[in-house]
């Protein structure tokens, strides 16, 4: 197994609260030119390490339990399996966080201690707004869905 000290089930409601409390205001400040890209990156990394990673380890452990996977090499082509729907339901949260991690990183590489207005790749600023809103909606939806 590749997981350690993860909680028993992924707490998407808790993660959504942390996202709303830490990431949302940090991105808002960044877009309002009150916070640099590097400051945004530091806030994001703290959230990613302290809130998202325990969720992600828990998600992996849930997947392994349901799929009967030990993390080793599994032969055969990939197949859709309705039995795996439940753990896969939360997997987009993981994919979106990891894609957002890279986006925040490239913004920090480009801008450093400067704010959003100083950038020359504005399309990525727009990406940031879309991804943060979409991820927030996704987690809220997963929290409220029975």
């Amino acid at each position: 197994m590749t997981t350690v000290d993860a909680p028993s089930s992924p707490d998407v409601a808790g993660l959504a609260r942390e996202f709303g409390a830490a990431v949302f205001p940090a991105v808002s400040d960044f877009l309002a030119n009150k916070r640099s890209a590097e400051q945004l990156r530091r806030t994001w990394c703290r959230y990613y390490d302290e809130a998202f990673q325990p969720f992600d380890r828990s998600l992996e452990r849930t997947w392994r339990r349901v799929a009967g996977s030990d993390g080793g090499v599994e032969p055969g082509p990939p197949q859709a399996d309705p039995a795996l729907l439940q753990p896969l339901r939360l997997f987009p949260v993981s994919v979106a966080h990891n894609n957002l991690d890279r986006l925040v990183e490239v913004l920090a590489v480009e801008l450093g201690d400067r704010t959003a207005d100083a950038g020359s790749v504005p399309e990525r600023i727009v990406d940031l707004a879309h991804v943060v809103d979409a991820l927030n909606r996704l987690m809220t939806s997963l929290t409220t869905r029975p």
Binding site: T2, S69, V131
Partner: protein
Amino acid sequence: MEPKTILELLAARGLAPATDGATLSSADVVKGHESAWGGEGKLYPIRPYTLTPAALESFTVRERIHVSIAGLGEDVVDLHGLGIYRRHDPKAAEGRDLDWAGAIVTAQFLSLQVTGHSDIFGQVKVMNTPSKPEGARVKPSPAPEPGKIMPIKDCVTSLYPQFEIEQLGTTVNTGDEVVRLESRIAMVPPVGDVSRTSRRYPLYDSDGRQLGELIAADIEIGTLLHHVPIQSVVMPEALAAVVA
């Protein structure tokens, strides 16, 4: 009224210089293929956190490039197409077990072809350079602290893209410089992955004259179209050097 979403905030404050309101259209946004966002009744034909043997795989690709060309101007172009790669058997990283968290997975790009339109450049086609070593490497992410192993892996894709630009009348490329796009992934094939460049690359014509610059590139991996297990996959030495 106070903005309730980040997008509303962005619209309220105005975009960055040189960006018009059209950019707020979701058609131009790179946020991951729709399959990455789940939804009722959607099942991934994949297994996250899982290693599989060597295979030939093809998938849909969307690429957004931000390019400037001397004499023509600067534009952000949306391109769509297909990618094919030959994925090698996974290997254990040094001192690690052969499992998802400890493995290194490499792949050789066989084909990448995407096409799109720009009001400034006309038809734009981007393709890889099969004669050069191009591929991807997935390796363990650094542990956030000792003993805490992560299910996430770092992915670096290395390409020598060629840009066929209608209004320029020729093809430009990055010369001998490989373009690197990085991402974090939790499955192979990386359906839903978004990889991004973090620097600019000069663009040259076939005579070596610099005609422009690749300012940024962002690639979304979309649907897995084809998967064929293969045997006897040997990574060429030149490719091993590029993805090392």
